[in-house]
């Protein structure tokens, strides 16, 4: 084995060990050439009805915090960003945020009611929706509370999935909401739509008519298959780029109204308390953000040499234009390579080769979108917003690299 390959393997194993992904240790010499590996000497397994990941990847799982006291389904579970590459999140690793568990909905019994300020209040079956013209779009969805631990005064001692894993990306296929609104006939003066889910929380949010008529979807498919139950089966609202809870899952009702309903989740919950005691309301788009996923907290570099920095950038307000990376604690910034296609309101993979000299340093990434929004340094972000908010934190994430190779979450 040459030196570079050995270092790569050691680094990979270091990563796996650090992130709990190392599922087994095997004697590498057992399959080294010229020996023919045993799996070539007898036929392999047969077919599955539904494929699952390799058993050796069984530790690549989501991180669950805790459900609210006395409940099992009120909380969130996070995507292991450190273990993934590319830009599409496997549906089984998509983050989840539910307010009262995942309902078990028979699609044959589910109905969508559209009423309120409309000429013709209508009821749709799921089978009916499946006959409408559809579009497919790749978009991220991000919980408003993603990265909220960066509000705390000390750096969280957690992996990137645990701090930033409330963002995921899929190809969503569904019916443009505009088509159904045209069918019911929206009356003049109707500026908002109350969207309500069929879960036990009857989760509800008021949606501006402008967004509903622009790019809102009634999503039926995720990554080619029907929605997963935890992502809104059989039909969810999908609002590209906006805070995740507004993309109401298990959608059962749309009421066209003249003004916001001021539901619990748009007044007491998803509002942003500032240091002066005022609170921002209706902070819909998720701001421009990026994070380095590899190397990241909990990993260990085995020694000096060439590494590939890899990370994700996204903006709910447009398309990622540039991601800059610093490998010297902010003294200099280099433009990373963006992996095509770079799509609006979608996760964008950036990569940059980096030759580590073995010294202690700090890595950071900074995203800029095509609307000119620049991801802020954490110090500046906290100075502006304070520590009391819970949502919409898009501060720059810093990872320190020690001379030992250990990578840690730091504020720098």
């Amino acid at each position: 084995m040459d030196g570079a390959r050995r270092r790569f393997l050691e680094w990979s194993i270091g990563l796996l060990a650090a992130t709990g992904l190392l599922t087994h240790r095997q004697d590498a010499s057992a399959v080294e050439p010229p020996e023919v590996p045993p799996w070539m000497k007898s036929p392999g397994a047969g077919f599955n009805d539904y494929g699952v990941p390799a058993k050796y990847e069984s530790k690549v799982t989501r991180t669950f915090g805790r459900s609210q006291a006395g409940t099992t389904g009120s909380g969130a579970i996070r995507t292991p960003l450190e273990a993934l590459e590319g830009t599409i999140t496997p549906s089984g690793l998509h983050f989840e945020r539910s307010h009262s568990g995942v309902p078990d909905i028979d699609p044959a019994k589910h109905r969508l009611l559209i009423h309120g300020m409309v000429k013709r209040p209508l009821v749709f079956t799921v089978d009916a929706l499946l006959r409408y013209p559809m579009v497919s779009r790749v978009h991220f969805i991000e919980c408003a509370g993603n990265s909220q631990l960066l509000y705390q005064p000390t750096p969280p001692n957690l992996t990137v999935g645990q701090t930033h894993g409330l963002v995921s990306s899929s190809e969503w296929t569904g019916v443009p909401l505009r088509l159904l609104l045209e069918e019911v006939g929206v009356e003049r003066g109707a500026q908002w739509i109350l969207a309500e889910g069929a879960d036990a929380a009857a989760m509800s949010r008021s949606i501006p008519m402008a967004k509903a008529m622009d790019d809102a979807l009634l999503a039926l498919f995720q990554n080619g298959e029907r929605l997963r139950p935890e992502n809104g089966y059989p039909v969810r609202l999908f609002l590209p780029g906006w805070e995740g809870n507004m993309s109401v899952k298990w959608l059962r009702r749309l009421k066209v109204v003249p003004a916001p309903i001021m539901t619990k989740d748009e007044t007491s919950r998803y509002t942003d308390l500032q240091a002066d005691g005022k609170a921002l309301m209706f902070t819909y788009p998720m701001e421009v953000k990026s994070v380095i996923t590899r190397p990241s907290h909990g990993m260990s570099l085995p020694g000096p040499g060439l590494y590939q920095i890899s990370g994700l950038a996204w903006s709910g307000e447009g398309t990622i234009r540039t991601v800059e990376v610093t490998t010297d604690g902010g003294r200099s910034w280099l433009a990373a390579v963006l992996t095509e296609p770079v799509l609006p309101r979608a996760l964008t993979r950036f990569r940059l080769p980096w030759r580590w000299d073995g010294g202690a340093t700090v890595l950071k990434s900074r995203a800029i979108d095509d609307a000119g929004n620049v991801q802020p340094e954490r110090e500046k972000f906290i100075a502006q917003h304070g520590n009391n908010a819970i949502f919409h934190c898009n501060a720059i994430q810093a990872w320190s690299v020690a001379a030992s190779g250990e990578v840690k979450h730091v504020y720098a």
Binding site: S74, E183, K255, M262, L273, G277, K278
Partner: protein, 177 residues
């Protein structure tokens, strides 16, 4: 190009879903009856639209609270094991803000809407409208916003002024404080 060819070209153009063009749809929605709508329309706006008949006071609500809410929200809304519902006044600009119905929520109608749709957590939509009015009144009274004999109903609830109402800044459609 003949007129017929031109007509075909136009149809192709429209059904291709070009921006701004009307896409042809199968029109499969069936009319919803008033009774169907009434059974599902549980949202209540800050103007009180959607509030049902009936009413309740804090005095009546105390009993509902103790039976249906206290196990999760503590005696008199003090919290534990779940969210605190009472107090926290004057803490929002401090280093340890306490967000409760009293200290934070901007609209009283939201209490009715949320309790009716989602509470009690293990039995949502099980309370009668009278019980929801009463427990709403109880929570407002515990927060010092209304008196214990003030009846909350479709007329009075939207008129309640919440203490933190003026401290919300609506940023849509423009972002920024």
């Amino acid at each position: 190009m003949s007129t017929r060819d031109l007509a075909c070209a136009v149809i192709v153009f429209v059904t291709a879903g070009c921006a701004g063009a009307r896409v042809e749809t199968p029109n499969l929605g069936r009319p919803a009856t008033p009774a169907e709508i009434a059974g599902w329309d549980i949202s209540v706006g800050p103007d009180g639209v959607g509030l049902p008949p009936g009413g309740g006071t804090a005095l009546k609500g105390a009993a509902v609270y103790e039976q249906k809410c206290q196990a999760c929200h503590g005696g008199k809304g003090a919290g534990q094991p779940n969210d605190r519902l009472v107090g926290g006044h004057g803490t929002l600009a401090s280093k340890t803000p306490v967000r409760t119905i009293g200290s934070y929520w901007p609209y009283a109608t939201t209490v009715f809407d949320y309790v009716r749709r989602a509470m009690p957590y293990v039995q949502p939509q099980s309370l009668t409208d009278e019980e929801v009015y009463a427990v709403t009144a109880y929570l407002l009274n515990l927060n010092g916003i209304i008196g214990e004999t003030d009846e909350m109903n479709a007329q009075t609830l939207p008129k309640v002024t919440m203490l933190n109402r003026a401290n919300f800044i609506i940023v849509y459609p423009r972002r920024g404080p």
